[in-house]
């Protein structure tokens, strides 16, 4: 695999909450990497995702704010109805550009911008979902020298998204949710 990651980006859609809580809830408070995540949500919902997951996680969880510097050991979620992007100076920015593949936030938009900012220091993770978002972005991460992990489609609530990601990145590691959780623990050790 590539150089040890400096940041992790995660994309998920249908079935996201269960998969994400299983992964994020096992990360210890000492976890040192930033995690930046996009989950597809209905646009008019005030997001309670961050609050919900914070209750189950030892790591700090927050909804990303525009122009916020990325801090280690923090899990960021895109707010509903905005794209979330990573700037070259490793701060976060939001955009209300048109939805991509009917999604805003879009996993591809986050992944492509993070690939630019982190290059080989980025790990991209695609989890359960019923569409194809994330495949193109994961490919951009691999092209930029970063590494890719995809949830095993057979174990996913909705297999379409991991399947599309594997097709776009045949060399991605395919792991169960629990194996992804253990791997993140491993790389996020101080």
């Amino acid at each position: 695999m590539s150089a040890s990651p400096q940041a992790v980006v995660i994309g998920s859609s249908a079935g996201a909450l269960e998969a994400l809580s299983r992964i994020l809830s096992v990360l210890p408070a000492t976890f040192i990497l930033p995690v930046i995540a996009v989950v597809h949500l209905p646009p008019d919902k005030r997001s309670i995702l961050a609050e919900l997951l914070q209750a189950r996680c030892a790591v700090r969880v927050r909804e990303a704010e525009d122009k916020e510097p990325i801090t280690p050991g923090t899990i960021y979620f895109a707010p509903p109805d905005y794209h979330l992007l990573v700037e070259m100076d490793r701060s976060l920015s939001l955009s209300s550009d048109e939805p991509v593949l009917f999604s805003r936030p879009s996993i591809d938009v986050l992944f492509e911008s993070a690939a630019d900012a982190y290059g080989c220091g980025l790990l991209g993770v695609v989890l359960t979902g019923a569409n194809h978002d994330g495949a193109r972005g994961l490919n951009a991460i691999v092209e930029g020298g970063g590494s890719a992990i995809v949830q095993d489609p057979d174990s996913a609530f909705a297999p379409a998204m991991p399947q599309a990601a594997i097709e776009a990145c045949p060399n991605a590691r395919v792991l169960s949710v629990d194996a992804i959780a253990s791997y993140l623990q491993e790389i996020g050790r101080s």
Binding site: D66, K67, D89, S93, S95, E98, V109
Partner: protein, 278 residues
């Protein structure tokens, strides 16, 4: 900020392209948040069929007809009428009662794009009986967007959402009272733009032009870097009358701005601020 050397060729090319756009045509995107600019320029490059940004820059410099095409990618904004209905409800319930006390009103829709926000305001002001005493300024940097806003024509398949938003915003009439639909397009009532000045204005390079009682500028500042956000907010501060109102996007705030002290939260959860009396 640390510069992470060495720079990728693409990043160098993008900087040069933005410099060319500024030097030749005075459109200044150099202090925009770059991740979005880069994404939009990549779309432009792919769809306009250029192999590199350098090739695109060459054509842009030598062929003025390229300008509107590239500008279209850099500035295109898809909004909705009555986007975030709770924002318009707060304006209606909390801000309008103050506005009623003025004999005449100036309202600035900054970054009006295709006009969705403008028509939302002008319908709301008509419903609240303020239309006759109000002059709206609708500004944008993209002339094509201004033309679209002036035309007031929207695809009918968007009207269901607009109607729903309008209803949730506390609309006192039916949205269908304001447009006529034919051939898949809905044309909004010309009367709604009788008191509107459409104008080319840049929050990056232009100055204050009138004193306002209300400024609405939503989902524009997120495209700027922190310094540029501050410039725009300074412009709003200097444009607002004493106790005038400023409405920002749901995810924008004055919190980190050097101008925060000039405003008080008026409806905090809707990002509506009021200018302090100086």
């Amino acid at each position: 900020m640390k510069e992470t050397a060495p720079q990728k060729i693409e990043d160098i090319e993008i900087r040069l392209l933005l410099e060319a756009l500024y030097l030749k045509y005075h459109y200044d995107f150099r202090n925009y948040a770059m991740a979005s600019v880069k994404r939009r320029l990549r779309q432009a490059r792919e769809q306009l069929g250029f192999d590199t940004f350098s090739a695109m820059q060459e054509r842009l410099l030598h062929e003025p007809a390229m300008l509107p095409r590239i500008l279209g990618y850099l500035t295109v904004q898809v909004s909705e009428m009555f986007r975030d209905p709770s924002y318009f409800r707060a304006l209606r319930e909390k801000v309008v009662p103050h506005l009623r006390t003025y004999p005449s009103l100036r309202v600035w829709i900054a970054g009006c794009s295709g006009g969705e926000e403008l028509y939302s305001f002008s319908i709301l002001f008509r419903e609240e009986g303020l239309e006759e005493r109000t002059l709206f300024y609708a500004t944008d940097i993209n002339p094509d967007a201004l033309h679209a806003a002036e035309a007031g024509v929207f695809a009918v398949d968007r009207l269901q959402l607009f109607t729903e938003n309008h209803r949730k915003s506390g609309g006192k009439s039916s949205l269908s009272d304001y447009y006529q639909a034919a051939y898949g397009r809905a044309s909004f009532d010309k009367g709604l733009r009788r008191n509107v000045v459409f104008s080319d204005h840049s929050l990056v390079t232009d100055a204050v032009f009138a004193e306002m009682q209300l400024i609405s500028c939503r989902n524009v500042l997120i495209y700027f870097d922190r310094n540029l956000q501050d410039r725009a907010l300074g412009l709003f501060k200097d444009s607002l009358a004493r106790r005038g109102f400023l409405g920002l996007g749901a995810k924008e705030s004055l919190r980190f701005s050097e101008h925060a002290g000039a405003f008080v939260d008026f409806v905090r959860e809707e990002k509506i601020y009021q200018r302090r009396a100086p």
